[in-house]
Assembly symmetry: C2
Homo-oligomer: 192 residues x 2
DNA sequence: CGAAAATTTGACATGACTCAACTGGAGTGG
DNA sequence: CCACTCCAGTTGAGTCATGTCAAATTTTCG
């Protein structure tokens, strides 16, 4: 098997038959990226979803004022892409940029459709993944409503283990929606 | 057909065969609720998801300090329930309370599983619904990161049409994560 | 009509943003 | 090997939006 990592991931959620695994494997392609390069830039027609084998990426976009906003980080075993653009058949507004040298697996949306048709187990697999993502997004919203910056930073650190050492301060501040200065002060207050 | 409204909704997303529609219909039960009553309270074992035929509800929970936080409103053609509790098999932490006299359709999770097995079209239907919900949650997060209170209030009003006349000020303020006093001032500034 | 709840308004406190300056480390070239 | 530059991170000062608390007003509903 070419890509055992992703097969393991699928098996954690559903029970694929060998032929289901084979079909998925046949649709995957390997992608390598250097730190600082882009997987996706605005205006591109979105054709693929990506599974992170190794590395770390961030997905963000620019608002009308040109400020960037980080939507998610993706590390090992995460899927990343642009659902919104794909489902609504609009050009993507996202940048997806690698923060570390990364290795990914890609699947095209055309093949994903075929996968759904021929191996309905993936219909369930992606439903479960999206449900999980939905729940963790909800946590992010509640966290914003309920907690102050310090508590949200701590929650962030536990939800992406060790990420505070992989991702720069200003990216974390951006994700949390606070200024880098403010996050810096919060981090200092935690050292004591 | 007993419940044409929900059949119409399903057909907006997928192409069910008559037998698929019949199966769904056979699993549904009608629920009526008076304003101010609860569909779900914390600690309950979650057994159903609900489709709103008529009326308006809010889903919220209490944090450690006893403050409430509204997660979503549900009006006509929305599903409401507690995914999180169901998927993770934990007691619900949510309150779901009706803001208006409401009529709902319920389906038990046991029957939902049977539905998935016998009519895989619903696997897709719910995947699409969750994907949509996921995208609109993302919009809520971005909105918080990007916009000030006034802009977020306006966005809220357009995303739930006419809801500002159905839902009290303090519930909207709660949903937006601002104080009722502040929202009141924002609304005044919009009248001029 | 009257009580209770919701909303509005005012006064004050505070957390977070902005802007600017400074610190410290990594990489580069003389 | 040492300056030099660049950039992330830190620190300080002033300002502003929003929260809190209290009181006044309006609306809802029995």
């Amino acid at each position: 098997m070419k890509y055992p990592v992703i097969a393991e991931h699928v098996k954690r959620y559903v029970s694929p038959k060998p032929k289901d695994i084979d079909l998925l494997q046949s649709f995957l392609n390997e992608v390598s990226m250097d730190k600082g390069t882009f997987l996706l830039q605005p205006g591109t027609h979105v054709r693929h979803e990506y599974f992170v084998v190794e590395g770390c990426l961030k997905a963000y976009y620019l608002d009308e004022n040109g400020s960037s906003h980080i939507i998610q980080f993706a590390v090992e075993d995460w899927w990343i892409g642009d659902f919104d653009a794909y489902f609504n058949e609009i050009p993507s507004r996202l940048y997806i940029e690698s923060i570390e040298n990364s290795r990914l697996l890609s699947i095209s949306y055309e093949n994903l459709q075929i996968l759904y048709e021929k191996s309905p187990v993936y219909e369930r697999y992606f439903r479960l993944l999206i449900t999980n993502a939905f729940i963790s997004q909800r946590k992010r919203i509640l966290s914003t409503l309920e907690k102050d910056t310090k508590a949200r930073y701590l929650e962030f650190c536990t939800s992406y283990p060790n990420i505070e050492n992989r991702v720069p301060n200003y990216d974390i501040a951006n994700y949390l929606g606070v200024s880098p200065e403010n996050l810096s002060r919060v981090r200092r207050s935690l050292k004591s």
